[in-house]
Amino acid sequence: MKANSYKNQPDENGHFGPYGGRYVAETLMPLILQVEEAWNAAKADQSFWDEFEELARDYIGRPSPLYFAKSTTEHCAKGNKGAKIYFKRDELNHTGAHKINHCIGQVLLARRMGKTRIIAETGAGQHGVATATVCALFDIPCVIFMGTTDIERQAPNVFRMKLLGAEVRAVESGSGTLKDAMNEALRDWVTNVHDTYYLIGTVAGPHPYPAMVRDFQSVIGKELREQMMEREGRLPDSLVACIGGGSNAMGLFHPFLDDADIKLIGVEAGGHGVDTDEHAASLTGGSPGVLHGMQSYFLQDSDGQIQEAHSISAGLDYPGIGPEHAWLFDEKRVEYVSVTDDEALEAFQLCTKLEGIIPALEPSHAFAHVLKIAPDLPKDHILVMNMCGRGDKDIFTVAEKLGVKI
């Protein structure tokens, strides 16, 4: 049976269909329930949103522009076909990605809860930088957990976090990437449960995080609705976003879930290909399981052991996905596809040359998919891609892949 609305999830225990929930150590349960209570109170408090909106405007620089990508549109035009392509420019946010949206929201919540220390995990370092930024702004001590592999490939962001006053703790366990950083953050949280707030960096983790992070990120989709009505006098026909944990995609999609005619496409990181062992496509290449406080889709073997993800993009290098995406995948409301490392790398270069915008490797995945589908869409088809992060942090990775020494 089809749901009456896709927007009234999760239920009171944080379930999106069978996904989501709260799968955490008992020590954390009382705290998780407190976070939920505090979030419910904040959500209903206009003064909380006034503060959020003021910072979104004056500190983040919202609303982010809606940009008509003329050169990309012309590049994709083929005879009487080719979609009209827009970018939602969340890479222009302060700190260079959409992550700052939920960091501002969560730090305000942590302050309401009287927490005096903040921890976070990071993959690409964008969430770590955004967390360190809001902690600097509010003068709260902050510890960022980051895998050793990621520290190596995202050196500029590590330095940024340190400049901002954060302590960056290297995580050596497992593959030294995002999943291991999250394990270590959870271990820290269970140890420092009394004074610490865990500022989770995506629409994942135990309830209420997936719903809360989505609600903060929904500013993206809400702005887009207004901007598009103003610009084109109608809503777009399709939306495209990349997906690691899924926060930028959820923020873009959520305000449009009940617009049945609007096609929503999530682009997972296909690494060396979903048919190989080296990718990060949890939906198109994984199966249901439980990890990091939630039931969702994960890359795992037949014994339920979580597999290491692989992606050229550190931000997408996670073997799981937010539970709401898992549910939308089962419900077939959102189409999920994947793009390989090579395709993303090519798209990265093309976007830079065509638009004069250096995209992060994460939205380069979304851009690669746009390049695949736009030429076959009708001329009056309006497609919006979320440019969720800028690529300054990725130039070293890209140079290395291209065999350039800098």
Binding site: G21, E26, T27, R187, G293, Q300, G304, Q305
Partner: protein
Amino acid sequence: MSRIEKIFAALERPALITFITAGDPDYETSVEILLQLPEGGADIIELGMPFSDPMADGPVIQAASQRALAADGDMKQTLKMVQQFRGKNDETPIVLMGYFNPVMVYGVQQFAQDATASGVDGVILVDLPPEEDGELQEAAKENGLDIIRLITPTTDEQRLKTLLNGASGFLYYVSITGVTGAAKADMSKLKPHIEQIKKHTDLPIAIGFGIKTPDDAVQMGQIGDGVVVGSAIVQTIANTDKNEAAQAVTAQVKALSEGL
């Protein structure tokens, strides 16, 4: 009476509960250690189900999981170990401890059936709170498997009611806010909390996390009905040549047991 009930009824001292990870460092060695634990004086055995992402565990037990997985450990092998143990020992209760994902992927129904058939007495899943364990509760009840709940320093009276509803076998009191193998608990805070819990339940209370030496065990045994030693034993396995691991563990368990 279940094996767990029998052992608590028969003991005149706190129960010594020992933890090892199944298949650490390999299947043969692990079976040998398991078989000798009761000889050393273990009253109940917690057998860890290896998992790739043990986020409630400290470095010692994380490493044990990795050794077991590297030696091809999996759920089937863990259950086979219990079966083999039961061939020689029908008294010592075995409680499986670990994370929910391998159980979910195995199939909750199938797990409850196969675990019981193999001779498992109870199960502790550290990341499966009562809010999410409905399916397992039902399957466990059908098969006579105990669900052992964790009580922690953050458990208040209201939460305690939620935890006690559906708990059986014994209660596992996590004595610190932290991961396994971390610092020892503060007795002055522990004692009043345990006394408080005792007012609400007749289930035995075992105290775990941070208990490493015979002295620690004696001290915790004064307020608990059982003490759990995990990381200290697992560390011995890590430090010892595998041909001598069973012997070393047995000696360590004997020392722990004699103090109690």
